[in-house]
Amino acid sequence: MSKLVSLTMAEARKGLAAKEFTAVELVDAHILQAEKARPLNAFVTETFEAARAQAAASDQRLAKGQAGAMEGLPIGMKDLFCTEGVRTTACSKILENFVPPYESTVSANLKKAGAVVLGKTALDEFAMGSSNMTSAFGAVENPWKRRSDPAARLVPGGSSGGSAAAVAARTVMGATGTDTGGSIRQPAAFCGITGIKPTYGRCSRWGVIAFASSLDQAGPMARTVRDCAIMLGAMAGHDPKDSTSAPVAVPDFEAALSGDVRGLKVGIPREYRPDGLSDEVQALWDKGIALLKAAGATPVEISLPHTKYALPTYYIVAPAECSSNLARYDGLRYGRRVDGKSLDEMYAKSRAAGFGSEVRRRILIGTYVLSAGYYDAYYAKAQKVRRLIAEDFTKAFQTVDVILTPTAPSAAFGIGETDDNPVTMWLNDVFTIPTSLAGLPGLSLPAGLSADGLPLGLQLIGRPFDEETVLRVADVMEKAVGFDAVPAFVEG
């Protein structure tokens, strides 16, 4: 394994600037690693040739002193971002052969910054799932292994599991994710990397295949907090093509990493200690609190009283939006079509052939909660509860600057180990969903290993558009934790 693939973006940036290696060498090393990592199934579509050409162009810009913020840095692109001329599937059969004639704003921003895209990374179908097992193109494997059972294939989490696995396996230095209820943070935790879901409206949704419009938000996944800061800076920005994109300036996120958290108040929500929270997750959380205290921050117990309603609220709002957002996949203009004797039959056959069971389940739930006679009981009520959950956070942030919680209730589980009850799977997002409903920035960073040698993550939640504080605290925690474990796949 080339040493180049172990570099962080910040280090590689220095190396490129100092001409210690070229962008082509850097990208080639990662392509080699990605080829080795093919059994993980992290990529749906590889774009190695285009990447080499981009890297060569990066070298020219580097030579001319015109380097962008991510010049020559190899990344993965979640296959939910539409990429011009490159197949974009959302890991669904219904878009199996869809090649967009346009480029999403976020991916265009990254390319403009000089980032080199090695390929499209796998996800749960239409970003619906927490395991990557709902992808139409096969499960993705987590590069980490249990000490007790190295033969077991573990999930990378989801929905941005392909991105998380690709970053953890050192095939790319960073990757884009999208997060609707935890889809960046939970896989980041499962794969021992860092990922931040920024404030809703921070990154443009234009050209990102929609799951639940009021929740979907793009964000970076990388191996360090600094790399996340670098990449978020390149992705973010107001986009007039997205009416929900916030007209706010993009701060210098890297500059926020001052290393100083003295005097900051860190909220510890008592509702995040549900019965049955494992001792090791509890211990990890306690360790995080202790580290921040040692760094000069003050832990403050807070209450987020409507937390217990977050999961049911989410599973009304998100499916409702998804049922409508996915109506456009009707086999008429693009995507999979199965002919029928009538228009209705064509719809039914095309959608039955195109959508997997989890997507169908959520479309059915969403259609039901919006239907006449049920709207008030479900959707309207869920919207009210959603406001209450957001108000919980607003109140808490009157006294604290950031909130610390676990990211997920457990470490990565094995492919096929879960029972058939979909609700068990949905519980993975119990700690991440409230943040999504409130539209707040949330970051997960690796904070330790489970007894079985698997990474566990902690989550930091911030005020709206205050990713800077989140990143600053995360950076301090990262240094204090000193997480240096590497996945079994990388150890070789």
């Binding site: 971002f81 539409c82 974009t88 959302a90 878009l95 869809f98 967009p100 004639p101 346009y102 999403s104 949704r205 234009w206 050209g207 990102v208 295949i209 929609a210 639940a212 419009s213 009021s214 007039p240 093509k241 997205d242 009416s243 929900t244 409702a320 939006e321 049922s323 409508s324 996915l326 109506a327 456009r328 009707d330 008429l332 203009r333 693009y334 228009l343 209705d344 719809y347 259609t367 919006l370 239907s371 006449a372 709207y375 959707y379």
Partner: protein, 483 residues
Amino acid sequence: MAYVIEGETGDWELVIGLEVHAQVTSNSKLFSGAATDFGAEPNTQVSLVDAAMPGMLPVINEKCVEQAVRTGLGLKARINLTSVFARKNYFYADLPQGYQISQFEFPIVGEGEVILDMPDGSSRTVGIERLHLEQDAGKSLHDQHPSKSFIDLNRAGVALMEIVSKPDMRSPEEAAAYVTKLRSILRYLGTCDGNMAEGSMRCDANVSVRKAGEPYRTRAEIKNVNSIRFLQQAIEYEARRQIDVYEEGGQVVQETRLWDSSKGETRSMRSKEQAHDYRYFPDPDLLPLVLEQAFVDHIKAGLPELPDEKKERFIKEYGLSTYDAGVLVAEQANADFFEAVARGRDPKLACNWVMGDFAAAQNRLGRSIEDPVVSAADLGGLVDLIADNTISGRIAKEVFELMVESGKPPALIVEEKGLKQVTDTGAIEAAIEAVLAANPDKVADYKGGKDKLFGFFVGQVMKSTGGKANPALVNDILKAKLA
């Protein structure tokens, strides 16, 4: 007299509410930059958003919002500073998103009113319930291929204003007057061209019947009515159908019915049970639409004089009859033409000419007011020649026809043809004496009491002077000579 339909069990009253879909006059669509020209090649005015490509997002067109507010102000309606776009979900081949972006709970415009000008000169007020903005669907073409349907998405996403009236109309004539007046207001405002043939204004009618004094009975919604004439026919047909149902002991069901203009009947399209469940919910891709009061005030300040105000002014300023004023203001261009003719002249004379010979010639030659048979300046010139006694009203009609034929100004025609009125009393006297001399028997009869012969003498004098003698002078002198 209230309009009623006589049934076997007595008189029935009609209750009518109308939903008018008016295409907003704008260069681009409600949520995309695609063009909106009528009659373009199929699928040439379709953006990625209109085709509902994955990941595409709507962005509101401010011009369409402005037009909706302008229309609301023109209807004297409440403007809602906060309104919300909602998705109306249903599957159809010409609806790419699988939902129509519309407004549901919170429309941009609330209650307003339209004043109807009835043909008998009376007026009635019809309430407006609401006006909201929504996207149009595309068009399904079923006649292009033996077994396939084709889809044209040019219209998909074009902005419509749905204008919903209260159930305030009581006769087909009132419904017609409502659509006519609404169309006139929209055209004055420049917010919709009102072209029903091209589909830029479409109308659905909610019709029910009841006995006098009863609460509302079940209504049926009639769709596909694309002219005012058909609207009246459809309402009358539907009312009679419902009366027959009741009088035969049946019940009218709430349903959507389609007007078939070739058969002159409505037929059931879908019943309430089959009705779509549209699953309306606020569109999460769009923030609530929040307007500044200053934005509304600015639009209000730029509103043109609307038909009702103009009519009022024409009655007051020009002394026109309610009927004449109503006819003249229906189209702004007609009103402008009239004012150009009337300015500085006898307004009643101007009105008679604009609504009389001029309108008749326009109709006869199929001309629009933008391309008039004679210019307003020339018609005004003609009125001047009458007013200063250069020509008589009768000669003026002849001059007018020559103006239409030749395009020459009236003064030139009068000059060339020597049509100037004879006001020389000596010449008229001579002509009268010649006529009296030639008809001694008639003179004797007249003096013997046959008064009616006076007209004969006048006619003979006019004939001998080629119609140019001043009629008033002829009368006076003739009377004196015969006395």
